[in-house]
């Protein structure tokens, strides 16, 4: 399957993080496989109407976190990850998402058990 990228300007996440998440999510769930070649930065910039720097930042972060590998002169490729590596990264991403809501949940004085049972009753999967 192909890469999916789109930007929402009103999102709380900065643009580079939106791009990072879209690619990283696709990789950890196995939609983007190892060896897949990312589109050139400038073509993404012009298609999405965003700055080159935002995309470069996303690609750099993805590389730093081991999601992609740059081969000079050939482009950026999705890294070959073992199932275990993908699982670890997936959990890390999920934790990032959860942490975002910790502050407000704490304000609501939710205990760990209460939160877990809320999730149990309501989480769609």
């Amino acid at each position: 399957m192909d890469i999916q990228l789109s930007i929402l300007n009103t999102s709380d996440k900065p643009i580079y993080r939106q791009l990072y998440d879209q690619i990283a999510f696709s990789i950890v769930v196995g939609k983007l496989r190892g060896g897949y070649c990312l589109p050139p930065i400038r073509s993404v910039a012009s298609a999405l109407g965003i700055s080159v720097i935002s995309i470069k930042r996303a690609w750099d972060d993805l590389e730093k976190d081991g999601f992609i590998t740059t081969m000079v002169g050939r482009g950026c490729f999705v890294s070959d990850l073992t199932d275990e590596e993908r699982r670890q990264r997936r959990n890390a991403l999920a934790l990032d998402e959860l942490r975002e809501s910790f502050a407000s949940l704490k304000q609501l004085e939710l205990t760990k058990d209460e939160l877990i049972s809320l999730i149990r009753e309501n989480y769609p999967l």
């Binding site: 399957m1 999916q4 990228l5 789109s6 298609a47 999405l48």
Partner: protein, 289 residues
Amino acid sequence: MSAVIEARNLNKTFPSGFRLKDVSLSVKRGYITGFIGRNGAGKTTTFKLILGLSAPESGEVMLFDKRMPDHESECKQDIGVVFGAFGYYETKRLKTVTKAYKRFYTNWDDEKYAEYLKRFDLDEQKRVKELSAGMKVKYSLALALSHGAKLLILDEPTSGLDPVSRDEIMDMFRDFVSDGERSILFSTHITSDLDKCADHIVYIKDGEIVMSGDREEIMGSFLLVQGGLDALSGNRALSESLIGVKETPFGFSGLIRAEDAHIADGLQTAKADIESIMIYTEKYEHHES
């Protein structure tokens, strides 16, 4: 809630072919109403009709519950108007311009005027042509505010101004309506100005009012959605409910009504702001094929 401006079904056709179609607009007492639309959508024209500078072919305008143009000069005593940057009497000193201006207003307040000059850092000895764009706007505002206006009608008062000056003007706007009696109608296409102070929004497109109401409500009635192209082609209901959509080789982003949120289940969504509502409604307008 009483209205200080009530325009009903204004129609006018211009030689260029441009037409205002059944424009109705109301400005509530004590609130700031932002008038938005693209260049050439009919904002200035609507203002001219409201102020009686141009006569509509049909429709009526009530100002302070009085019918225009029957009570025109009476109503205008209570209205401060700023049309773009101040461009008259380029070579005259501000002092001279003010002297000519204040004679038209029975409630002119010299003390207040001096206060605004100070607040806006305006030098009366300067000539109009020596003022920067921001200073011209501030000078127009000082004039408009010094005759005890209960209503300000401002055509793009912040265009050409730097962010700090714009923020100052917005502070002043909120200040002006804080007594709950005075009201403002201003047009702009700087949507961040609206976020800072507009209570109500009226949106004109090609000579027609397409949205009007509480700003928060308008923003809350839309939702931005994004996803891959397969999500778009595989979901007919979604495709049908898109008001505007931007498709790229890498995916899509679009605008839907908040009530259609269930159709976008499982897709990333974000709240819509006035800017994205305008852009998706105009630039990426979705035509169902």
